[in-house]
Amino acid sequence: MKLNKKVLGLIVLGGLAVSGNSWSGTASALDLANTCAGCHGVDGSSVGPATPSLAGISSEYFTETMASYKDPEGRYSTIMSRIAKGYTDEEINLMAGYFSKQKMIPAAQDFDAKQAKAGAKLHKKYCEKCHEDGGRSSEDDAGILAGQWMEYMQFTMDDFTNGRRDMPKKMKKKVQKLEKAKGAAGMTQLMHFYGSQK
């Protein structure tokens, strides 16, 4: 194991794995996460009106989502499937760690108070079990809904209900029940509830 000074210097300098002429290394979590700010906001709190905030997201949900974007059969998107393919699993894990530790700044958006009030009841009945704490918590495969951009949530539900994205089994049942009971208006009320949360 004899390394010349230059190579040794390189390894020490960047913490890099050097093999032959190529080098490989992983950018820091902060540097990776900073590249997302142009669309998802500083430290993952989007100023909207449609790109979602990532701050506070559970690292499981983040990594699962990015993996699904990378999969040609995975989650539908306009642009994220093109971007997700640019990152290794290790890089995605680092970004997940960073964003999960950020505090989400709730979206400053217009909502209808009456609809939000009706939505609060629907949330308790249909959603709270998985989207706990009024949709504030992000655990496992649940994203933060409270204070998320309403337009983004509309896009997401549109994908779920039109087969562009698979719903988890439990969610599918609840969404179907909600649709049966309240129709499309129920979903709108829910959006206004989450959108109203600070």
């Binding site: 300098l13 960047g14 890099l16 190529s22 080098w23 290394g25 992983t26 950018a27 820091s28 540097d31 990776l32 900073n34 590249t35 997302c36 700010a37 142009g38 669309c39 998802h40 906001g41 500083v42 989007s46 100023v47 909207g48 009106p49 449609a50 790109t51 306009t78 642009i79 093109r82 971007i83 997700a84 393919k85 640019g86 990152y87 890089e91 337009e151 896009f155 549109d158």
Partner: protein, 433 residues
């Protein structure tokens, strides 16, 4: 405090701005500044770099030298030209940067003395630096088109490729134009700022004409034979603006077929192409481009007129401790775009802070995302992720690319909404909010 005059004290602790924002006691605690970074240019690259240096280490003293009180973003300025948004919505000041302790000197930086390590300014004398970041944007090669210069552009034939008064002038000219008029857009040869920009501009102007002056026409006289997002733009022109039919709002003449223009007569509103002359009612010439003037004065350019850099740090290969980011730098394969400049500035800021602390630079990671609006409800995009191979920035294989040609109307509408979200978020990232 005895023995130190107030004047010296300010110098030691890094600028009057720090005194007013941090308060007296904090400064004593903060101790010695971690170094002084002077940034030339308060645009996308410069403002982002300033903010990210402060975010990484508030003890670093940061000064921006910028001649204008406000910055108008080039991105979304095509929407101002078409009247879809007001000029004020693309105007940004420096208050939020100042509140972070960044000093903004409204002055023109004319040169850099890389040996003595100071920036030469017009009014404020020499400003000493430990590290200098140059982000001047582009300058124009006026000499490529006979009869065209800054004066003609300012009053009669706008380039509108630096936003602000130029954007307002082109918007006003379109509004005053009679129905049935011809708008000439002359995009530049490569490389230039915002490769899809001229073609998005054609879309935005076509959208305005379709709704207000439908007998009018846009003639694109291109220096090139192909252009960015060409398939998607052509598809959009066909769908919305009758492209390819007798009634098309847009006609595109490629360079090889006479699109290259050699001169302009501002008195007769005539453009001289390599094959024939064209008359326009409104003429928008986007000249060929090179690095900003300071890059030439300071000896930062190569023989092609752009600034070569170490792509891990964006440090100039011509001068030590001077960094070049944004449109002026040779950052290929990154395009000259706003998102690129923002991304490059973050890599550079991290490298500069590391260097001030005597640490090695980290591993760069960059992104470019660029939206274009064909109509207010029809958005398209191109994206790419970049990493570093030890010597150069490279595209990450398999990543990025264009909006699919067959994406639905609903998804195009979604991209338009994401385009506006991108604008809000990136300007918030650059200038603070």
């Amino acid at each position: 405090m005895s023995g130190i005059s107030r004047r010296n004290f300010i110098q030691i602790t890094g600028g009057a701005a720090a005194v007013s924002t941090m308060g007296f006691s904090n400064i004593i605690l903060a101790g010695k500044s971690a170094g002084h970074v002077v940034i030339i240019g308060g645009g996308v690259g410069g403002a982002t770099a300033a903010r990210y240096i402060k975010r990484a280490d508030p003890a670093v003293q940061v000064t921006i030298v910028e001649p204008n009180a406000n910055y108008f973003t080039c991105f979304m300025s095509n929407e101002v030209i078409s009247g879809e948004r007001p000029l004020d919505s693309i105007k940004f000041g420096y208050k939020n940067l100042e509140s972070m302790g960044i000093k903004v000197v409204q002055d023109y930086a004319s040169n850099i003395d890389a040996k003595k390590k100071h920036v030469v300014t017009k009014k404020s004398g020499n400003i000493a630096y430990d590290r200098c970041i140059v982000s001047p944007g582009v300058d124009f090669k006026w000499e490529m088109i006979e009869g065209y210069d800054a004066g003609v552009a300012a009053n009669k034939i706008p380039h509108a490729w630096k936003a602000g008064p130029q954007t307002a002038l082109l918007h006003k000219q379109l509004q005053s134009m009679k129905d049935g008029g011809t708008v000439i857009i002359a995009p530049p040869p490569n490389p230039f700022r915002c490769p899809p920009g001229p073609y998005e501009r054609a879309c935005q102007i076509a959208h305005y004409l379709k709704n207000n002056k439908p007998k009018s026409k846009i003639l694109i006289l291109d220096a090139k034979d192909k252009f960015s997002k060409q398939g998607l733009f052509t598809q959009g022109w066909k769908k919305h603006y009758g492209y390819g039919t007798d009634n098309s709002l847009i006609e595109w003449v490629k360079g090889a077929e006479g699109g290259i223009i050699e001169g302009v007569d501002a008195k007769t509103n005539t453009v001289t192409g390599s094959v024939e002359e064209y008359k326009g009612d409104v003429i928008n010439i986007i000249p060929a481009q090179k690095a900003g003037k300071i890059a030439f004065n300071a000896g930062l350019v190569n023989d092609k007129g752009w600034c070569p850099v170490n792509q891990q740090t964006f440090e100039s290969t011509m001068h030590k401790d001077v960094y070049v980011i944004g449109d002026s730098s040779v950052a290929s394969p990154l395009p000259k775009s706003g998102y690129s400049a923002n991304s490059e500035a973050k890599v550079c800021a991290a490298a500069v802070v590391a260097s001030l602390h005597g640490k090695p630079a980290g591993i760069p990671t960059l992104v470019n995302t660029c939206y274009s609006l064909i109509t207010p409800d029809d958005g398209i995009s191109v994206a790419m992720v970049y990493n570093f191979d030890g010597k150069k920035i490279q595209k990450v294989k398999g990543s990025g690319g264009l909006t699919p040609m067959d994406s639905s109307e609903a998804m195009r509408k979604r991209e338009a909404r994401y385009a506006h979200s991108w604008f809000n978020n990136i300007t918030n990232d650059i200038f603070g909010g």
